[in-house]
């Protein structure tokens, strides 16, 4: 099954994507992740101001039958969470890379972004999991 993996984003093995917008990054979960989870029914997101280290848990995403922790791909301070979609969580399924973004983080170490997976590398990770 073809997966939508935009080439201009960075990725993690735990299925988060990262888009760089200056010194802030936008973070969400990938199309592959939303597809494996199924209908998403609940999002637990952090409050703005929380300071995250790379790989910290910053929230949870739940479908009817699965729950998955969200890991921060980078270190920094949460500047905004997409709380507007908590009542319409299906946006994460339908539009994971735009409307379904989860948090914005002000980078404390921009070099961390470089170490993340490219679209091609992530595609291999997603393939290896089988779908």
């Amino acid at each position: 099954m073809a997966q939508n993996i935009p080439a201009d984003l960075k990725y993690t093995k735990s299925h988060e994507w990262v888009r760089v917008e200056g010194d802030v990054v936008v973070i969400g979960i990938t199309d592959h992740a939303q597809d494996s989870l199924g209908d998403i029914v609940y999002l637990d997101l952090p409050e703005a101001g929380r300071v995250l280290a790379k790989e910290d848990t910053f929230g949870e995403v739940e479908s009817v039958k699965a729950v998955s922790e969200l890991y921060s791909p980078v270190s920094g301070e949460v500047v905004e969470a997409n709380t507007g979609i908590q009542d319409s969580t299906e946006v994460v399924n339908t539009d994971p890379y735009e409307g379904g973004w989860l948090i914005k983080v002000r980078l404390s170490d921009p070099s961390e972004v470089e170490a993340l997976l490219s679209a091609e590398e992530y595609g291999a990770v997603a393939d290896a999991e089988g779908h």
């Binding site: 209908d39 029914v41 609940y42 009817v64 039958k65 969580t89 089988g130």
Partner: protein, 493 residues
Amino acid sequence: MSKDTREPLIFDVSRPGRVAANLLPKCDVPYQSPSELLGAESLREKLPLPEVSELDVVRHFTHLSQRNYSIDAGFYPLGSCTMKYNPKINEKTAGLPGFAALHPLQPQETVQGALELIYELQKMLAEICGMKATTLQPSAGAHGELLAMMMVQAYHAERGDTQRNIVVIPDSAHGTNPASAARCGFKVKGIPSNEKGCTDLAGLEKALEGGNVAALMLTNPNTVGLFESDIQQICQMVHDAGGLVYCDGANMNAMLGLTRPGDMGFDVMHFNLHKTFSTPHGGGGPGCGAVSVQANLEPYLPVPTVEKEGDTFRWKFDNSKSVGKVHSFYGAFLIAVRAYTYILSLGKEGLRSASENALINANYIRARLADYYDVAYNAPICMHEVVFSANRQKREGDVRAMDISKRLMDYGFHPPTNYFPLIVPEALMIEPTETESKQTIDSFIEAMIAIAKETQENPEIVRTAPHTTLVSRLDETMAVKNLDLRYAPLFEE
């Protein structure tokens, strides 16, 4: 013929002023006003309960019962659930007034028969698993696990081994294992299974490093239906590292009279009396998660324990090392009566025969379906259950394990367990139990083969199953997003 198959809620049947029957006597003592006795401010106004006749009640609940699958009506090949026949005599004995109409706080001299039964059953269970002592207090398997972890913690605490804060659990374990360990404040360390579906000894070795492991929780036979052949070495490794070994007894039905967890080296285990010892599941409970221990853990058993002195039985409440109490009283006594009845009915030879037949039935299914479904880990012999993967069906017809399960309903069977254990993709876990006949099992096998063919020829019929049940697939997303957990009109003014 089109027929509305819904059963209305009892609240829809209710009519103001309707009553069921002459259930209660008139007041035969001088009447005093409740508001004087209790204070008007303490009294309620509304009491939103239904008003129905007894015939309404009988019809409604009879109709509801007809909307259930049950062992009495058909075959339940549910892996890890041991849905064996629940003998009717068990219900008869549990209903005897000398058991059912006992108050738990009656003077001990008035409940000697009950204490004797508890004492006897505890001894029998200890004998069956090769351990020293048993408690019947836990209400379910998960409750037994929790109690066991409490005892493990108390054991290490008494030795000053308070740094032991890790419980090691294979990735194939029931979810209750990590949940129960976490409930006791333990950190859970998972270990992967090896390519044979069994505990990976190197992984275990690594997990045991550091001297912080309090216990290993292990299911044997494991959740893939395979016997952990290295079990003695596993127990030895954990003991050498100063930890204890817990046996999740969910799969005890494979071992009665054939092998005993106590002899393998386990320190503590739980039984599910509602699986192995035939007490009914009741649509989700009640159960009994009896726990047996070796001598090293006996001091920590919950109170009260029952003791025999001459011909007299008595409760012993004072035990300074006990972890305390985990039940209001002594556990699910009437479930214990059923299990005791079952053991007397089977006898030692019947127990062994039950496990032998459970193994034969499971291996027969394994052998006959192996050409149609992928056997997980492809071991030549399974124990009392067999795990298949629907990977092939997913690949060939985009049919998932869940679809196959739902389609089985159209053939008149309850589905097997799906998506467990987690380490098997598209798992179909089948446990036939000993009480099913070859004829029943053959027709189940035929249904499974037919579905495998449908997957190739007409996968849509499988993907959209069931087609013959009272309701089709339910919208579980809607159930979570628009929570409707009680009948709202009852609460509207």
